[in-house]
Subunit: 260 residues, 2 copies
Amino acid sequence: MRWLRYSYRDEIHFGILRGEKVFQVTGSPFDAYQEDGVVLELGEVKIEIPVVPRTFYCAGLNYSEHVIEVAKKQGLEPVLPQKADIGYRANNALIAHMENVIIPQDATEKIHYEGELVVVIGKKAKHLTPENALSCVLGYTIGNDVSERTWQRSDRTFWRSKNTDTFKPMGPWIDTEFKPDEALTTVKVNGQTHTTYKTNAMIFDVPTFLVEMTKYLTLWPGDVVWMGTDGSSPDLLSGDVVEIEISGLGCLQNTFIRES
Amino acid sequence: MRWLRYSYRDEIHFGILRGEKVFQVTGSPFDAYQEDGVVLELGEVKIEIPVVPRTFYCAGLNYSEHVIEVAKKQGLEPVLPQKADIGYRANNALIAHMENVIIPQDATEKIHYEGELVVVIGKKAKHLTPENALSCVLGYTIGNDVSERTWQRSDRTFWRSKNTDTFKPMGPWIDTEFKPDEALTTVKVNGQTHTTYKTNAMIFDVPTFLVEMTKYLTLWPGDVVWMGTDGSSPDLLSGDVVEIEISGLGCLQNTFIRES
């Protein structure tokens, strides 16, 4: 099942996507819902972010090639993470599929994409085990952890390098049947493939992170966990169109525009 | 004016606190509201966190004595922050006034309080100036940035050192007339004063942070900004009662209990 969150005539709704048709519901996938009989064409609604997270988790470094690439660019020895230490991102930065990433005037040219698998939590959970970890997952969507690398190194936190307004595209929908095992993540810039990796080639996979996290924290419906990225990005220019496709899940597309 | 968020007979409401009486409203201080005629005694409601933040910002290091104390304990030279780089905390960790902080079984004895002034945003804002920065502020409340210092040093992020469930007490209410200038923050453990500092002796004050943050990000109604702490904390024991009082604003009280 694919869940779409969208606006139509100035109201935001959840709907179930079947082919190109959106079957509107009252309620949401995070509690009770019921189809209300309204059926719309996908092309006539505006796609919104699939959920406004209660808490916005992000794994950061979680693929070895990405860690090695980052270290190489800084002239350092790569250090792979030894533990599944989760990080955070900020809701202010979220934008939807097809909305524009706005690069601030004073940002450097070091604007990079990071295509990521996103886990959407559907049920309250604590003290998960490897066996039941996925039972709290509603489904999956796609994120682009846009980064300004100069600020990432110069600032004490990731506040503007990672969380500047529009730096966190997420969408287009939540797929409840997607399985990461066989999937490929492909990132294209202006139609040209720049990065391809096995979506599940994570250092710590989804169950491992959820088990570790829920030793100390409660997951809530609507929380999201971004799972990190592999490979590296070219410096993105104003006008560049970035597509992050995860096979079997969907494609998140956003255009990068430098503020004038 | 003082805004209270509370539950009564299993429903959560906002109300206006006048003396010991709560005047219930429909709506919230973040949009339209109207008193609905219900008046309750403060003693008969359960105080809830004053707002569920959309984004939970936290200044971290923002008082010089705290930076110096932390460095001394680690045998390092203190490095004062040179820029107002905001950080983040997580909603899962929030608890209300009079709720218990639960120390996980495997936490060390290095459990510390950090009493903080909390700014509650009432209006959407970007590109604020020093002159109009406070125009987006609804009011102020109090936070306790509870920390497990061993995890703070050992982990790649602050996920469990600062964001373990119950590690972020906030409340008891939002005061819309409070002015930080003359206020004192006093932290008591079991009734004994352990820390006292001028609330406004910040390295970067509230307008400075809001101006810097809104160069890159939009503040939204319901966002909170925790402003950092001064001084240092003793190691807290199971059963300790911590009160954070900010003069003219209120007192946030929580008991620390080690998980058995």
